[in-house]
Symmetry: C2
Subunit: 506 residues, 2 copies
Amino acid sequence: MSSERILDSRLRERVVSAAEAADLIQPGETVAMSGFTGSGYPKQVPLALAERIDRYHQAGQPFQIRLLTGASTAPELDGVLAKVDGIALRLPFQADPDARKRINDGRLEYMDTHLSHVAQHTWFGFYGDIDTAVIEVSSIRADGSLVPATSVGNNKTWLDLARKVIIEVNEWQPRDVEGMHDVYYGTALPPHRKPIPLVNPNDRIGETALRCDPDKIVAVVRTDAADRNSPFNPPDAASEQIAAYLIEFLQREVSRGRLPAQLLPLQSGVGNIPNAVLAGLAASGFRDLTAYTEVIQDGMLDLLRDGTLKHASCTGFALSPEANEEFKRNLDFYRSRIVMRTQEISNHPEIIRRLGCICMNGMIEADLYGNVNSTHVMGSRIQNGIGGSGDFARNGYLSIFLSPSTAKQGSISALVPMVSHVDHTEHDVSIIVTEQGLADLRGLSPKQRARLLIERCTHPDYRDLLADYYDRALHHSYGRHTPHLLAEALSWHQRWLDTGSMQPGG
Amino acid sequence: MSSERILDSRLRERVVSAAEAADLIQPGETVAMSGFTGSGYPKQVPLALAERIDRYHQAGQPFQIRLLTGASTAPELDGVLAKVDGIALRLPFQADPDARKRINDGRLEYMDTHLSHVAQHTWFGFYGDIDTAVIEVSSIRADGSLVPATSVGNNKTWLDLARKVIIEVNEWQPRDVEGMHDVYYGTALPPHRKPIPLVNPNDRIGETALRCDPDKIVAVVRTDAADRNSPFNPPDAASEQIAAYLIEFLQREVSRGRLPAQLLPLQSGVGNIPNAVLAGLAASGFRDLTAYTEVIQDGMLDLLRDGTLKHASCTGFALSPEANEEFKRNLDFYRSRIVMRTQEISNHPEIIRRLGCICMNGMIEADLYGNVNSTHVMGSRIQNGIGGSGDFARNGYLSIFLSPSTAKQGSISALVPMVSHVDHTEHDVSIIVTEQGLADLRGLSPKQRARLLIERCTHPDYRDLLADYYDRALHHSYGRHTPHLLAEALSWHQRWLDTGSMQPGG
């Protein structure tokens, strides 16, 4: 195989510097970029664009863009553009410290969006026209088709809809990732939609590369830069305890005949607790599992290698540097076991419900009645965003939320009288697990849920306090279906704001 | 056609009185009954069961059941069973005054559930075994198959899963409703699910009758009683103003090319405002529309007759007595234009997203950031339930919520700082309409939504008050992504509880 990554001679002629490419982006544009959880985002054009924006601002001229991506990216994209105040509106998800700070300072408008909604809402025209797409790829084939890198995200939609396209060809990306992707071209706008013919997590229903009208490609930039690979932290004791409770539950469901021995396709959020769950599944003797998820992280690669996991579907990766090296070394092995899809398909309600995913996601807090807040600290400060958690929690077979029972050295309880923001309503939450225990909320009324959540999931430091609120609410609430004392319902959060602890006198 | 409604001789031999049938239901059973928005519910066995329960209670013996249905029923079902304290747990939806009172007094456990989740969660075993099904039908064919009445709801699932079955054959129901139903038998449990082959609202993908193992049918009861047909109230001025804003918006979307001239399949909640919208569509010259909805009410029959609506799909009816008479008289006409489905299919996320429904639902309140409360008055008192509004709002093309801007003679504002309960999160709400105006929230950040909702939708009596909260939150909130003053966020509701008005000094 030639070392040349750009095999289409027309496009080889359009190679320019990142600065020249960035000059093609004008103030006020809506720019759609690749990238999903720190994989497959453009590495140089955003940086050059930030410099261009900064020059404008130095000269007293306005320059902001509306920025759309797959999901979170990295400091070289969200970070640099936020720092120069280059973003007027950001969607659908971010996790960058600089962007987050500006959003919470009220200087950057952010629209947190279900990841399954983004592509179709763009097609529907809800976000206006897409002026420029900036897409990282691993290579360009002779016919001009684009081999995606380590994420697919919304790239198909961006390429289809953007007026002009800038491609980054990243030599750091493994070239032989080619063949791992599955880009579905059967989508349509209503009333012309058809069933999506995917019935197994490893079904291939599309093409291995992205199509793009070459006339729209205004620049190609060569890069050689690593994805944002976050170091892997070994699970702590709380994560392992949470994982143990969840695995015990899954084993019980299997023994009761409610789940097959191979379970159902796993969806797993990113982080320590999901990694602990995955490690626990392997250690507990589960075999031939499957995954239908957004993101593959270190733990899933381990499971694929040791046979716990047969195959996995995703739209991006979130690997540590070590796992990334191992992934590159054994790409042939992984290519036969991993399918990377557009996020429209990885997160599609139709598919998630059909497959009956077991959905495991983190949370900031849950309340007495099983409402879950995944996004807002103290009701007003966005952490990251809802991501795909709603797509999975609403549509899967089991909707499981996992969290330590306290945060910030015990000053915050993850179980509160009323959540300060709702991302997943009481209707969408079946299981809550903390290191204290597991609450199975299925088939329970609000009051039955409350008693279980106090008893099983709440930290002992907050248990009596929560029980006291509930008991008083039960007697004094206006309605006793979902008992609340409205003057007190958010007082734990206010107390934390006032005193630094949710505990009275804490 | 014979006037005999029970053509299967085996089942004709099992005809008994309602009291004899009710004697087959034992204390502690989980009983699944037919019925959806007051249509097609059993009329006599629940009454006889309530009498049986009352006799037990008079004798000091416990007798309660867990009660599942399609959706709401009527006083002869929910009402009588609630009055004798015969229900231990109720799901997935109710709208009965006596049941509501007991739920809000804390004496009846109720689990409000997405209507699309009920069948599959029962199959998954989340609600335990179904002991008895009590199903109203219009007739029994010679082969024992059951022709549904004026709703299908969850009847297929109840008949498939119940250990024993009681059938009510209601002669009041039009016999020639036969042929209007479409019962889909292609469902399965994961991992065996396949795409649902429905691509148009009027596609037929199933059978015209319900199957049931005749050996499970322990009793057949003959009845002759009307569905709960609620009188139709002509739209008031506020409803007509709301409808006018919405229709103007839809016309603009068509003229911008974002919607076809025939729109997309309409889903419409039940009530005055939806009826006003439907009337407005006809008056505005829309033609060849389609509907994919839960319930057909008077307005949709009008639209079918005058050609505004080509065809409609539903799972039940909510007609006034006059409309019901007209429906029966012209059943041949309606049978060719209406398909009645199981609620699993009428509310299926896969289908709603594929068809791209325009979803119009009522609400109790919305907050500054577009979160919607559909179920709880002052955060604790359940009104009815979420019904199918979540199935449609999350998955449709447009998620529209409609409400007058105030309630209870102006003492309650429908636009509040923070909703007291969340059923539809900020991610699931695209348009809010009151008689004050329409707010198009698509593509907007929380703060952009807030300004629009204050300006366009809030009643003048509350506009300054809400703007004042927002302005102060913007400056003093912990985070300024979704600005809130937690100590004040629910103070409007508390003020109403304390003083009878959300207005200070009101």
